[in-house]
Symmetry: C7
Subunit: 96 residues, 7 copies
């Protein structure tokens, strides 16, 4: 999916299917107030704009397995697959 | 449409018609909380003002096919065509 | 109207009458969530104050035909004519 | 009224009486959402504190006839006269 | 009252008694939306922290007669006297 | 209580018992909108992070008797004693 | 649990079980408005992004016993164990 280039501090993520999540060992408790979600980074933007005009490189890269805050992302579908555009700050951690 | 020049960090976008969207392969699920929209960049401003007085160049350019957050843009019509003025930060990704 | 000098990042605009708007070709759809308005820049302030104490010059100039966000401006009348004082950030685009 | 010295980015203004406003030619429409008011600058503070510790000089001076946003100011009376302490950012424009 | 040292951008003020206010000539109209109050500065902190780690000296000094925004201050009593701890930004003007 | 080290701009305070407060002479009126509280600083963090990466040293030190805004602190008990973790900005003044 | 790497200013914490908390001596009163929680730092991110593009190192390290604000963290389970991803600013103090 090289044909989606996120802008600025945004990241495109493919959410993991349920069976994949089971394999990784991560479980999101039903009682969690803010439920995170697992997924794979597909593409990253040029990074957040700093006050001096530079861009701060995004701290995840294509292929990284990540835990992200579902809230705030924007969903879209391409060739039958579901994706999310998130802000880098919605990525909580890299798994594995 | 060279006669609309967005100011500062603003971008003018022509939203894609429904049949165009089908061709590109991007589908916005009906269940999406914040529905993005596809379109083409028509014109870009001089960029966001930095603390040192410089302008940060806008990261999309005329002709770019983009996915944008519909919310927050301002609609207008020129010669029978519908356009939107958006902030650069409402542009999520460049497609293709 | 040389006798109104906006302060800082403010701009004085004379809203276009309805018949003028028709000529320019810009139409604001009735369904638009945030309706912009057309007008002519009458006077501009010295610009937004930067962190280093400089002023960032305002990006529109006297005589510019502009599209602006109506919301937030302050109306006043001078010699029977209606004007608005806006912040530069309420100016969306320069027309023509 | 040399005995009121505003602090920082504050300005003391004497609101114009109704008959004075009529002379200046400025009229505030009854339908205006945010009604501005006319007045005369009586005293100005040392200016807004910048990140580097300097003060940005206030852009209006004693004696300036100004249009200001009524909302946010603080009223007081001295020797039977009514005054307002405003922030510099509540001053919209200098008249005349 | 040398035994109260305000921290950072805070100021300790002794509110003026009603009879003192009458003498100074300042009157706060009953109709004022945000009623200011008169008082005397008792002690000042080391000033607001700047981005570079310096402190911006507070613009009022011990003994200054001031007009302040009552809202936001914190009341306390010491040896039977009533005082207020305010932020420097709640001080509107120096009187006299 | 050397075994609690606050992080960043946080401070640990031991609230004064009622009889101690009486001795110090400070009285918090029942009618006070935002009631402050007296206490003793037990430990301080390394200070607020500045934009340049330095830390601004905290302006109170272990043993200082302080007046603090109760609101916002977090209570905990250690060895039967009650403590509060506060932000430095919740400390209003040093007493004595 | 070396296979969870928090991003930016985030920290992974393993909340302490109830019996452990009893041993440490810290007690959270039932009446506390904002109840903190005890736990052990498992992994830390690269730190908060500064305006100049540097990262400010996180002030806690793997193995630190910490008191943290429960509110705002994101829960997940890995290999049957419960963890939280927090922002560094949710860590109140280091214990012991």
């Amino acid at each position: 999916m090289a044909n989606i280039r996120p802008v600025g501090d945004r990241v495109v993520v493919k959410p993991a299917a349920k069976e994949e999540v089971t394999k990784s060992g991560i479980v999101i408790p039903d009682t969690a107030k803010e439920k995170p979600q697992e997924g794979t980074v597909i593409a990253v933007g040029s990074g957040r704009l700093l006050d001096n005009g530079d861009r701060a490189p995004i701290q995840v890269k294509e292929g990284d397995r990540v835990l992200f805050a579902k809230y705030g992302g924007t969903e879209f579908k391409l060739e039958g697959e579901e994706y999310l555009v998130l802000k880098e700050s919605d990525i909580l951690a890299i798994i594995g």
